[in-house]
Symmetry: C2
Subunit: 708 residues, 2 copies
C-alpha cells in the first residue's frame, strides 16, 4: 500500500470543489485530484488496523464489518457509473453486488442477516486499484462541460467522491467501537492534547431574524438531494449555550442519576436506554475510579473540556434534566436556530476559507478538542469539533427532488424518525463541512456528535411530510397534481373550469363533493370566494389539508414493480398560494350529509354518484342546499357496483319492469321537480394512474342543472 502519510497537507487539506469556476480542463484536473485525494484518505483510515483480521469483525452487531466499507466506497463508483450509463462493463460483478448495500442509518434497510463470505483483503485492495484506474480513465476521457451540475456525468463522479467522504467519517465511528488490541495509531494523525477542566457553560442571546435555507439548482457546490429547495423561517430571539455541552457538564447529569430516571427521557429514549442498559455515554469508560474516553484508535484520560458525544436521546434527556434543575425551558437547537447562529457568525463556506475556522475538515486535529478553543463571536464551535444534534427530524425542503441516480439517498429518512445533525465534526470533509449539508440519523445512533442547548420560544416545526404511500391515495395525488398523464388533460382542472364557465361570472360559495385529494376544490377557488371540498375518505382529505397547511405534500408513486418515483407538490408551483384562505377540506359522508353544508351557489357531485351508498337521498335534497338560481353539476361515469351501493339504491343501470333504466335518464326524472337542465352534457376523460405504464380511464359525463 502506498504510503499516504507522507504529505499531510495534500491528504487533509482538501475542500469540496467549486463547480462553476475556471476552465473545463482545470475542472477536470481538480476533479481528478479530488478523486485521488479521496481514495487516498479512505485507504489512509484503514491503516489503523494492527491486525487486519479485525476488519472481518462486526464493530457494531447491527453493522457490516469494516471490510465491507473498504470495498463499498469503491464499488459505489462502479455501480453509479453503470446506472448512469457512463460505463458499460462491470469490473467484478460479484464484488459489485456483495459490497453494494450497506447497513447503516443512511439507508432504511434492516440488517441483512445473510452470512457473507467476505473476500481476502488483498483481493479488495486489488479491486480498489482497478476501480481507481477505471474512474481515473473516466474522469480523463468523459467530455466535460461547465458548469458541472446535477445533470452532468461528472456529478456522478462527485457523488462517488462525496459518498466516500461520508464513509470516512462513519467508518471512523465504527472503528471507534472495535477493541483497541486490533488497532494502531494512524500515521500523521494529530490528537488534541488540550485536556483541561470544562468551562462553565452559559446561555447567551441570539438575535431573531429570517433564516433562509435550501440551495438553488445553480449552487456551485456539489449537494445531496435534500439540500435543494426553499425553506424560510422567521425566528424570534432566543438564547443558546455558549459552548457545546462538554463531558464535564454532562457528568453532572450522569452523577445526578439521569440515566436511571425515566422522567427525563422520551418514550423512545427510555426504551433505548433500557434495551442498552446505558449508564453513561458510549465512549466513556469507567476505569476503577477514573473516567476515560475512547477515541478512534486509543483511550485517553477523560478530557472534561471536550464536547460530550452522545445520541439525540441522551441529549434530550440531559435537556429535560437541565430544564428541571434550572427551572428554564431547555431543549436542543432546531435546524433553523443552528442556521441562524451560523449566519450571524458570518462563517465563509468551506471551499472559500483559507484555513478552517474551527475543528473541522481534519484541518486542525484528528480528534475533538476543548469546547472553548474555537470561537465564533460570542459562541464556540458553531461549526466543527463534533456534530450538533437538533430537535428537527429531517424532511425535504419545498421543491425537493430526488437525483435519478441516487433516488433513495434521503427519502427513506423522511419518516420523522431521523433527526438532523449540523455543523460537522473534526473529521467532516468535503460536502459534510459545507453550510448546506444536511445529514440525519436515527435518534439512537452514534456519530461524532454532541449538542448545543437553547432556551427558545421558537416552535419546533416538524414538517410532517412523510411520503404518502397508500396506493389508493397516491393514485389520486398523481392524477390530481402529478405530471401530465399520457397526454390527457387534467380532469380536475378541466371540471372546475367547466363549472366556472357555466356560472357566467357568478361566483360565491361552491361545494366540491368527492374532491379526493382536493385539486378541483383549489381550481374552483380561482373563481369562487369560498370552496368546501368534501370526501368520504379521510386519507384523501388528510393530504388535501397537508397541502393547505404546509404549502406542500409528498407522495411516492409506484412506477414499475418495486421501483418508485418521489413527488413533492407545492402550492407555489401550482400558483395556488393565494387561494389558501378560500378553501376548506373536511371528511364527510355525501350519502348522509350534515345540514351545515348548505347555502351554495354551486354544488359539484364530482365523480361521486356511483361511489355513494345512498345517492338518491342526496339528490332528493340537494336543491335545499343551493341558493336561489344555484347550479348543480353532476359528473359521473355511472359505474354502479353492488359492493359500494346496494342495487336498490342505484340511480340507474338496472332494469325496471323489464326495461333498462339508464342513469342519465333517471337523473332527468329525479331532478325535474327542482331543477332545469341547462346547456348540453359534456364529457371529460379522467385518468387514474396505477403505474408508469398502466392507468384507468373513466369517461365522465357531466350534466348541468339550474335550481328552479
Amino acid at each position: 500500500m502506498k504510503t499516504i502519510t507522507a504529505n499531510r497537507k495534500e491528504l487533509f487539506d482538501t475542500r469540496t470543489l467549486i463547480l462553476n469556476a475556471g476552465t473545463a480542463d482545470e475542472m477536470r484536473q481538480r476533479i481528478l485530484s479530488y478523486f485521488h485525494q479521496t481514495f487516498d484518505i479512505d485507504e489512509h483510515l484503514f491503516e489503523v488496523f494492527a491486525d487486519e483480521s479485525a476488519m472481518y469483525k462486526r464493530a457494531d452487531p447491527l453493522r457490516h464489518p469494516l471490510i465491507f466499507y473498504f470495498g463499498h466506497t469503491a464499488v459505489f463508483f462502479i455501480n453509479k457509473l453503470i446506472l448512469s450509463k457512463i460505463i458499460d462493463n462491470r469490473i467484478n460483478p460479484k464484488f459489485e453486488s456483495m459490497f453494494a448495500v450497506g447497513v447503516d442509518e443512511m439507508s432504511w434497510d434492516d440488517l441483512d442477516m445473510n452470512h457473507y463470505d467476505w473476500p481476502p483483503i488483498d483481493e479488495v485492495r486489488a479491486y480498489r486499484k482497478q476501480v481507481r484506474e477505471r474512474v481515473d480513465q473516466v474522469i480523463r476521457e468523459t467530455p466535460l462541460n461547465l458548469p458541472v451540475n446535477w445533470k452532468s456525468p461528472f456529478w456522478v463522479i462527485m457523488m462517488g467522491i462525496e459518498h466516500a467522504r461520508i464513509h470516512l467519517e462513519t467508518s471512523s465511528v465504527l472503528i471507534r467501537q472495535l477493541p483497541l488490541k486490533y488497532l494502531k495509531p494512524v500515521g500523521g494523525w494529530k490528537i488534541c492534547d488540550e485536556n483541561g477542566q470544562a468551562p462553565a457553560n452559559t446561555l447567551l442571546p441570539v438575535d431573531g431574524g429570517m433564516v433562509e435555507m435550501g440551495k438553488d439548482r445553480e449552487h456551485p457546490l456539489y449537494g445531496w438531494d435534500n439540500e435543494y429547495g426553499q425553506h424560510k423561517v422567521e425566528l424570534k430571539p432566543f438564547k443558546a449555550s455558549k459552548y457545546l455541552c462538554s463531558n464535564g457538564e454532562f457528568l453532572e447529569f450522569v452523577e445526578a442519576g439521569g440515566y436511571r430516571e425515566e422522567k427525563y427521557w422520551t418514550e423512545e429514549g427510555w426504551s433505548w436506554r433500557s434495551y442498552k442498559e446505558a449508564e453513561h455515554p458510549l465512549f466513556w469508560i469507567k476505569d476503577s475510579n477514573a473516567w476515560k474516553l475512547r477515541l478512534v484508535y486509543n483511550e485517553i484520560a477523560m478530557p472534561w473540556s471536550w464536547p460530550v458525544e452522545i445520541n439525540y436521546l441522551e441529549a434530550k434527556a440531559f435537556s429535560n434534566w437541565k430544564s428541571e434543575v434550572t427551572g428554564r425551558s431547555i431543549r436542543l437547537a432546531t435546524e433553523e436556530e443552528w442556521y441562524r447562529m451560523r449566519d450571524l457568525a458570518q462563517i465563509p463556506d468551506q471551499p472559500y476559507w483559507d484555513k478552517a475556522p474551527g475543528n473541522i475538515n481534519m484541518e486542525q486535529y484528528q480528534s475533538p478538542c476543548p469546547v472553548n478553543e474555537f470561537a465564533f463571536g460570542n459562541f464556540y464551535d458553531i461549526i466543527g469539533n463534533v456534530w450538533q444534534w437538533t430537535e428537527t427530524p429531517i424532511s425535504g425542503f419545498g421543491g425537493f427532488k430526488v437525483h435519478p441516480f441516487y433516488d433513495d439517498f434521503s427519502t427513506p429518512t423522511f419518516d420523522l424518525r431521523h433527526n438532523l445533525i449540523k455543523g460537522g465534526s473534526w473529521i467532516s470533509t468535503g460536502n459534510e463541512a459545507t453550510r448546506d449539508a444536511r445529514y440525519a440519523f436515527r435518534r439512537h445512533f452514534y456519530q461524532h456528535a454532541g449538542f448545543r442547548y437553547v432556551e427558545s420560544e421558537n416552535q419546533v416545526v416538524i414538517q410532517r411530510d412523510v411520503y404518502e404511500t397508500d396506493p389508493e391515495v397516491v393514485r389520486y395525488c398523481h392524477a390530481q397534481y402529478g405530471p401530465g398523464l399520457h397526454g390527457v388533460p387534467n380532469y380536475h382542472q378541466a371540471i372546475a373550469e367547466m363549472c366556472i364557465e357555466r356560472m357566467h361570472g357568478k361566483t360565491g360559495r361552491a361545494l366540491d363533493l368527492g374532491c379526493k385529494t382536493g385539486r378541483s376544490t383549489w381550481e374552483l377557488a380561482r373563481a369562487f370566494d369560498e370552496v368546501t371540498g368534501l370526501d368520504f375518505t379521510a386519507r384523501n382529505i388528510r393530504l388535501a389539508i397537508e397541502l393547505q397547511e404546509n404549502g406542500n405534500m409528498q407522495y411516492i408513486f409506484p412506477e414499475e414493480g418495486e421501483l418508485v418515483s418521489y413527488h413533492q407538490i407545492n402550492l407555489k408551483d401550482l400558483n395556488m398560494e393565494a387561494l389558501t384562505k378560500k378553501v376548506a377540506f373536511y371528511q364527510a359522508d355525501a350519502s348522509n350529509l350534515k345540514d351545515l353544508y348548505t347555502g351554495y351557489d354551486l354544488i359539484l357531485l364530482n365523480d361521486i354518484l356511483d361511489e355513494m351508498y345512498n345517492p338518491s337521498k342526496l339528490l332528493n335534497q340537494v336543491h335545499e342546499r343551493l341558493n336561489d338560481g344555484g347550479m348543480l353539476v353532476i359528473a359521473s361515469s355511472y359505474n354502479w357496483d353492488e359492493e359500494r351501493t346496494e342495487k336498490s339504491n342505484w340511480v340507474g343501470g338496472y332494469r325496471e319492469d323489464g326495461e333498462p333504466v339508464w342513469t342519465r335518464e333517471a337523473l332527468n326524472q329525479l331532478l325535474s321537480e327542482h331543477f332545469e337542465q341547462v346547456d348540453k352534457d359534456e364529457h371529460l376523460p379522467s385518468v387514474l394512474p396505477y403505474s408508469k405504464r398502466k392507468y384507468e380511464v373513466k369517461n365522465i359525463e357531466i350534466s348541468f342543472w339550474e335550481k328552479r
Copy 2:
C-alpha cells in the same frame, strides 16, 4: 265488453303486415287496423271465462294468473313506447310496473314469488281502453316514413302487436290448464269435428340440398331479433314421417310402458318425468277406460288422428323407443330439416297466401285437426296444426343483433336449454305464422306442440354459441373484437401489423404467446403461413376456438350497472374466413412451455411477460424455439405483481445491490447472448374495457430481437 264475435272474418283472418308496400297513408291505416284487430282478438280470448275469478288463479304453479296476461299485452305497448321515447308520459305507473314482467319461457327470469295484489278486472279493462286510445293516437299522429323498418317508431308499434299475438297463443295454453268449471266456449270458435282413426305413419324421402336461413335487414315483414342474419347448411337427403306423430301413434309408446322406462329418456327427460310423475301427455285424460283430450275450454273424446301434443323430452323419448322397435335411427327433425321440407313444399309466406294452406292462423279451426287433413306434397302439416319440436337449441344466426328496445327477447334463451319449435299451430297468427319465425322454449315446456320424426344422416349441429359472460374473458373479447374503443386503435391488430412489418416480407411460422381470445393470432395469419396462439387461460382459448370452429362467437358486455350489450363476432365480418386453416389455438403455460412449440420464424411475447410466474425460464430458451434469423418480439407494460410472479422471478422492476433495475434494461442483459436488438422500441396503448365508461389502458412497450 264489446262484442267481438260479430265479425269472424275480421277477427281471425289477419296477416302480419308487408312493411314496404303501398303509400305511407295506406301503411298507417293498415297498422291501425292490425292494431285494433290484435287488441280485439286478445280480449276475445278472455271471453272464455265463465267465472272471472278464475283469472286470478294460477293455471300453472310456475306462471302468473291470467289477469296478468290480460294487463300485460297492453302495458307492453306503453313501456316500449316510453323506452323508445315515442311517448313521454305513463298512463298508470303502478300497472305499468305490476304487469310488466312475465314469468314465462320467453324470459329467463325465475318465478317472482312476490304476492301480487292484482287489481279488479274492470280496472284492467278500463286501463286497456286507455292504452288502446293512446296507441291509436300514436299511430295516427307519429310521422311515418316508408319502408317501416327496425329503426322506425312504427317498428315499436309492430313489436307491441306481434307481442300480443304471441300471448294470444301462450295464454290459450294456460287457459287449457284451468279447470273446465271456470270456462265457457268462446264465441265463434270452430272446433274441428273430424275425429277418426290415426293414419299409419311412414317415412318418406326428402331431397338433400342447401338450406338458407336468416332474414336480411330489408326483409318486408316484422321480425324478432333472432330471425336476422345468415345461416346456410347443405343437407344430405333424409327421410321424414309423412304425418306429425298422432295421438294414436303416440299411444303405442304409452302402452309399451315408455313413460316407465328410463332408457328411452334423456337424463333431463327422465328427471322431468320423475318429478312430474308423468304417465302420458299432459292434455290426455284417462277417464275410466276411455281416453279424452282436453282442449282450451272443453274436453272431447280422444281424437286419435290428431297430432299428439307433448314437450320435447317426451317426443325425444318416443323417438328413442321408436328407434328401438324399428331398428332404425329415429330422431326429431332439426330446424334445418324443417326448413328444407318447407322450402321443397314451396309454401307462400303468410301475408302472401290467399287462404291458409294448413291449420294455421286461426283460418281453419280453433283447435287441432287430423294429421292427414292438410297435405303439402307428399307430407302433411309442414306448417300448422301444432308446432313441431326440433332437435335444435336456439341460437343467433351469423350477424345476430339485439333490438335496442327489446334486448332481452332472445339472448336469454341462447343457452342450449331452449329448443326451437317450427311451423306454427292452429292459433299461431301474425309473425308466428311466417316462415322465418323462430320461437324456442325450455324442453320440458308445453305449447300447442308436437313433432315430426326423421331418419337422417344429417348431423344435429348445435351452435354452442352460449353468450360468454365471464367478466375477464368478456373484456378481452370486447378489446379484441369489439367496436372501436374510445378512439384508440385496436392493439391486437396493431401489434400484429408491427410484427409483420418487421419481418420485411418474410413469413413462415409464428407463435403468439398470450393471445387471450386470439385476435392477434388471426391478424398474424394474414401474412404468416401458420400461426399458433397460446394462452394460459383455457376460458380465453375456448372462445378463440369457438370462433375458429363455428365462424362466430358471442359475448355479453356489461355497459352500466346490470345493463348489458350483446355481441356476436363473425369471421366473415372480420374478413378472416380464409385464415381458419392457418391458425391453431391451445391452452399452454408459457413459463413451462412444451418442447413441441419450436421452429418458429416469429415469436411474439404478447403482453404476457409480467403475467408469467417464471418469465426468465422462457427468455433463456426462447432462442432455441426460433429458426435461424427468427424474430423475437417482446410487448409488455412491465407491471410486475407479486401475486402473479414471485419477486425473485421478476425480470426487472426491482432494486439489485441498491440500484434500480428497469425491465427494459434487464432485457438487454438477458437477451444479448442470443439476440441482436433491431429497430428502435415502439409503443402501443392497449385498452381493456370494464364498462361503457371505464377502461384500463396499458402503454405497451415493444422491442424487436433478431436471433444471432
